[in-house]
Each structure stands twice: as C-alpha cells, then as structure tokens.
Amino acid sequence: MRVGRLRSRRLGALVLCSILVVGAGGCVATRPQEIQTLVEVQINDTAATIDDYVAWAPTRSRARILFPTSAAGTVDVTLRNMDPPPGGQVLFAYPSDITLPATTGTRPTLDLALPRNGAWVDFYVAGKFGSPSLRDKDAVIEVREKRAGGDGIVLGRQALMVRIRKNANLLTPDERDRFLAAVAGLNMTVGDYFTFQAIHAVASQEAHGGPAFLAWHRVFILRLERELQAIDPSVALPYWRFDQPAPNVFDAEFMGGPPSGGYATFAPANPLSTWVIGGLPGVLRSPSFSPTGTPGGLISETATLSLGGVGNLYASFRTMEGNPHGTAHVRAGATGWIGSVPTAVRDPLFFLLHGNVDRLWAKWQWTYDRYDVTSSASYAPLGSHPGAGPIPIGHYLMDSMWPWNQVTTPPRPTTAPGGAFPQTVGRVGFPPLQPRPLDTIDYESNTGNSSALGFGYDDVPFK
C-alpha cells in the first residue's frame, strides 16, 4: 500500500479504508492512480487531464469499461464524490436531464450501465455550488460497482477540479500564492503579460464607452486567466470585491500594502515584489482608501444591480462602466497606473478589479435571467454594425472584437497585439478565434461539448 503524497489528515482515512476494504476483499488505496482501474472516466470527453476542470455549468463526460470483452450485457456502476468537503464536490446528470432552458447537474450520485464491450456512456458532471475546489484535482469521482445492499468495489477514480473564481479577500494562502506565482511567472518568466498592457493601452474605443465594454473585458480577462492556467492549471482569476473592505487583498503578502513613495509595498518573498513592466520597476499605486476601508463614492453591489432600470435592461445596466467600474479605477490609483486607460494594465490589480466587474455582470444576468442572445434585454444593440452610426463597429452583438479579429484598418487601431483568441484543449471554440459579444452572453451554455467559457463565480450559481 503506497502512502505517496497523501496529506497527514488523510492518513487516518487511509488506514480506515484499508481496514474496511481489505475486510471487504477490494482495493487498498485512495488516490486515482493507486488502484487497478477497470472503468475509465473522461472529463470533457478527452483523455487529456489538462482539461479536467469544471465550473458550475454541466460538462460533458463519459465512462466505459477499460478491458472490454465480447460478452453481452452491462456492468452496473454508481458514480459519486469520493471525499467529503472541504475540497471540490461535483454533481451529476444524465444527458436527458440537460434540457433547455439550461439545467446543470443536480444528482449527488449517478447510476450507469456500462456495456461490457467497452462502449462509452455519456453523462454530465458539474461543480456543486458552494463546494469549489481548494487545490488542484481535489475532487475525485469514484466509480463503484453497484450491488444490492451496499457498496461494491471501486472500479475507477477520476480526479478533477471544481475551478471557480473567488473573492480575493477570502482566498486561502495556498490559493493566493498559486495565483501570485502564476501572474509573476506570466510577466517575469514567460514574458507575455506585456501583451495585455499593449492591447489595453490602445483599446480605448474598442473596449470602452460603448455597449461591448462588458463583453470585451469578459474576453480580455478570460484570455489572461487561460494564460495563467497554462502555467498552473489550478489557478482561477480571483476578484476584488471593491464595495467591501479587502484588507487581505491590499496587503504586502498579496496585491500590495500601503504605498511607500507612491509604490505598493510587498513582502520580500511575494512574487510581485520584483514586478517590472515596460522597463519600469514596482507597482505605481496610491489608493485613496485604507486597506480596511472601501473606495469612496463607489456604488454598492445592490445599487449596481439596480442600474438596469425598471425593465432591468442591458442598455441601462452597462452604465456601470462609469460607477462602479471607473470609480474603482480612479480610487485605486488616481495618480498611479491603474487610474488611466493607457496605463491601467501595468498594475496586475487591474485583473482583480475587472474580475469583479465581470462578476457583477454575471450576477445581474443571473438575477434577471439575461442569457437570451436574441433579446435586447440581455444585450443591445443586436445584429451587426450597419456601416455607419454613433455606435462604433465592434459593439454590436455579432461584430467581431478587436484585437482578436486582427483587423488593423481604420477605425480599428493600427496594431492588434496578441493574435486571435488561443484555443484550449477541451474548450475549442469557447470562445472562438474571433470572439463576438454574442459569444460572451450565455457564458455557461451547455449546448456544446464543454461548459462553454469554463468559468464561474463563487457567489453566482449556474443560471
């Protein structure tokens, strides 16, 4: 029996399992790779483990007998979570459960009949709201032989992660440190962070002041998040909930403590302590609020959700671009980088700020059921740019968005850094190479082969 990399608090469970299972005549280990696998489970319908990450939306998956025979018949199995919380928990669904309007997994266990000939059987798995993962692959689906009167033997296990965007002020130290290492790595080691600065510096009309503000930034931060996940797949972009005190965020161990000489202060071992961008060292930031306070004049979440007006319409809701979005930028650093469009992305706090902007949009969508891409209540204006008019191209529902469309002829900017939107294993097409606002509205759509854009927020349930 291998103990391997088990945490000490699991050691007792391991001993316990051994006693139980040896007594029952079955397998003897608790991690997926330590049993003889007889049933294979694939998340996202791929053998790759790099895409074994789910959010609240249902993710298509499948299972099969690993050593098929020519015998007829099936093996009855039950899928369930192996470990209780804390750590990620999932729910299951049969394909017939997933109907329009959208539904997600709701079953804590799932019974399947796996053909002995090795044919795949489809099912869906989704993160259980309120039980996101704390670590990479800490959720484990266990496949047990279904027996009358009790548990059968374990036939297979599949680890995955319920990877969710969380309130930055509530991250565990481990979650925080993984995020910091990934951000610093993207900038200092891989060297690709500057591309985001280059994009946003000239994205004025493409991304601001118009209807596509929210859609553009949803794609922009998703792009960064996927770059971070290429470094550490367990990382999800946390959000700065700017209408509440966030002392853990504005701390030297995280995004920077009270400024010294106009620059955020970092603990010596904080990966952001060596931040450099565009030939400039440090993070120029002087918030107008203390770490235990909140930005003055910034509207609350409830007030933000009210901006949709009497009909709760997108055209009104998107005015949140002014306050709280613009207010948060200016309060976080009126004389620093984050206070102006051309320089804002130099400060990595930008992505936590926009994480919250996006979360507020997601929350509004959920509160008022705004996912229907054919309705102007969900997004306006519909259709494509008519060729002229006060709303620039790129802001209509069906318009491709710069820079991912690589268009550099007027009225678009003359450069398009970063290229098309890179495709990710398990999420090809989500979003497409050239995202449109259309592709961002129903971000948890289950009509495809994956859980759409692949993110969710800790306080916004599946639609």
Partner: protein, 351 residues
C-alpha cells in the same frame, strides 16, 4: 476483525473526516431582487429630499449619505440640474454630480459642464475636484470623452497651474497618464528650475514616469546625480534603468554599501527591468554579501529565480549564481536568505 472494530472505525471516520462543511448556500434570486427594489425606493426617497431646494443643505446631504447613485430617470435629470445650478452651494452641486450615473446621461453635454467647472478657478474647490474626478472616470468609460480628448487635455493644461495643489496634481496626473507633451514639458522645467515647479520633484518624476519619453532622461540623469533628497534620487533611478549614460552610476549605487537600502533596492529593481539578461551578474555580489540588507538579497534571489527559467531569456552568469545560491541555502546565517535560496533551488531544479 474484532467485534468492536466497526464502532472504532465509525469513530475514526467521524474524527478524521469531520471538518465543518462550509458549502455556501446559493443566493436567493427573490431576495436579491427585493433588495434591489428596496434600494430603488431608498434612492427615490433620498432624491426627493435632495432635490428639494427649500430644505437646508445639511438635511439634503444627509439624505443621500447611503445612496451613492440615483436610478430613476427623473431624479437623474434633477441631479444634473442641481449640478448645473450655480445658485446652489458647491457642496450640494458636488453631491449632485457624484450621484449621477454619468454613463446614463448625455455625455457630451455633461463633459461640457465638467470642463467648464474644472477650468473655472472661481468655482468652489470641492466642486472642481469632483468635476476632475468624474472627468477622470469618464476618460475610462465614455466614448464622448474619447472623441473630445484633445479638448479635455486643453482645458486640463489650463488647470496645471492652479493655486490648489490637489487640483493641480489631479490635472497633471490625468495629463501625464495620457502622455501630454505640455504637461511633460512643464514638469521637466520644474525639475530644472525648482522654484518654478508645480509639484514636489518626486511627485513630478512619478508623473513623468507614467508615460516616459526620451527627452526626460538627460534631465533625470542630472537630477539623479545631484538630488535634493533621497526620494527624488530613488524616483530617478527607477526611470533611468534603460538610459545607457546612467547605467554605470546605477550599478555603482547598487554595489555601494554606504548607499541606503532604498537606493540600492531601486537600483537592482531597475536593472531587473532593463537589463534582465544580466540580472544574475548584477545581483550576485549583493546576494553573496552577508552584510548587505536582507530584503535586498532576498529580492535579488527572487528576481533571478523568476528569470532563470524563462524560455526566451539567456541569463549570463547563471551557473555562478546557481552555485552561490546553493551555498547560501546551506550556510547563510540569515534565515530569510536561506529560505529564498531554497525556494530558488526548488524552482530551478524542477524545470
């Protein structure tokens, strides 16, 4: 298995795996909608009091304390009217302005009003500051602001020499962040002839650093060599890492044990930003000097660690640095340095 084992096992299960289930309950749509409606009613009530000019200013201000924005269209229009009314007090006008969801009103018209207020030295200071604040937010969020960028910068240039230092700094920071040539020229002139400076020199240099251009470097180089104080020297060092004539001086600052930690840290940081390929060579003498400040040494180790595994960067002196760090991990009397060295070894060896 003994007969009492199942009970023991059960107790073990409870003991080992019983951690508090912290699963969050899903939010309640109905409750959220009710809260939003309650806020709308609160905002409406607050607006009715605030927009009643017959009430005392204190009562009107108190009414909107918990209401950061108006929602109802008529109230938004009313607040716009209060802001535009120069018979109202500066305080009330500023409160009205900050209650406007400015993205929801005619932004061209609002911009015109903001520029008029910001550029009027006779307007109340609180109102002007609020106008500059909203202007800066609109530069983030308004297509009208984008279209009238030139006009906005022109007005802000007029505010650059305002007698109020807070207003001056607000205007200058917006201009500097947008790369305004006139602002840069004025800030530079102020550095050269300090009595004429609009802001303290370290603040000026920070603003120049928002969008640095080549013309600032010779001036900063001279200031760095004869700074009025350490804060100014540090700001200059931060910006001069990529300016070749300053390189030797910066490296000398780093190596000079008589320089303050702040100066040496700025030197190493700017070398990290501008001479990354040689960061190991720059950091090595400091990192291996047991008399050097601990924070500086830890910075050096971390900076090299982050560059060391870059797929595109070839660090010169990397092998020597690795060897030195291995020794530090074993021998350094400083715990912080040992820890940093061990993390370095872990990261570098795992790649």
């Amino acid at each position: 298995m003994p007969n009492s084992a199942p009970i023991l096992v059960l107790l073990l299960v409870v003991f080992v795996v019983s951690v508090p289930a912290r699963a969050q309950q899903p939010p309640d749509r109905g409750r959220i909608r009710a809260e939003v409606e309650a806020y709308r009613r609160q905002a409406e009530q607050a607006a009715r009091v605030f927009l009643d000019a017959s009430k005392p200013d204190d009562e009107r201000a108190a009414a909107v304390t918990g209401v950061p924005t108006f929602v109802d269209k008529a109230h938004v229009e009313g607040a716009l009217g209060v802001f535009r009314n120069d018979r109202e007090s500066g305080r009330i006008r500023a409160l009205a302005l900050t209650r406007l969801p400015h993205a929801a009103v005619d932004q061209d018209a609002l911009l015109t009003d903001l520029l008029k207020v910001a550029g009027n030295p006779s307007a109340p200071a609180a109102l002007r500051q609020a106008a500059l604040d909203v202007l800066q937010q609109m530069l983030f969020s308004s297509m009208a602001a984008h279209a009238r960028h030139h006009e906005i910068m022109t007005v802000l240039r007029g505010v650059m020499r305002d007698p109020d230092p807070a207003i001056r700094e607000s205007a200058l920071s917006i201009l500097a962040a947008h790369g305004d040539d006139e602002a840069r020229r004025q800030l530079l002139e102020g550095l050269k002839s300090r009595p004429g400076a609009m802001l303290p020199p370290d603040a000026s240099i920070r603003l120049l650093g928002l969008r640095p251009r080549d013309e600032i470097y010779p001036v900063l180089h001279q200031v760095m060599l004869s700074p009025p104080n350490e804060a100014v020297k540090v700001e200059c060092i931060r910006l001069l890492g990529g300016y070749a004539p300053s390189r030797k001086a910066i490296v000398d600052f780093l190596r000079d044990a008589n320089e303050s930690t702040t100066v040496r840290h700025a030197a190493l940081a700017t070398l990290n930003a501008n001479d990354a390929e040689r960061i190991a060579a720059h950091a090595l003498p400091v990192v291996t000097d047991e008399r050097a400040p601990e924070a500086l040494r830890v910075y050096g180790i971390l900076a090299v660690q982050q560059r060391r595994t870059s797929p595109t960067l070839r660090l010169s002196g990397a092998a020597d640095f690795d060897q030195a760090v291995r020794k530090l991990a074993a021998d350094s009397p400083s715990r912080a340095v040992r820890d940093a060295a061990r993390r370095y070894a872990q990261v570098v060896s795992s790649k």
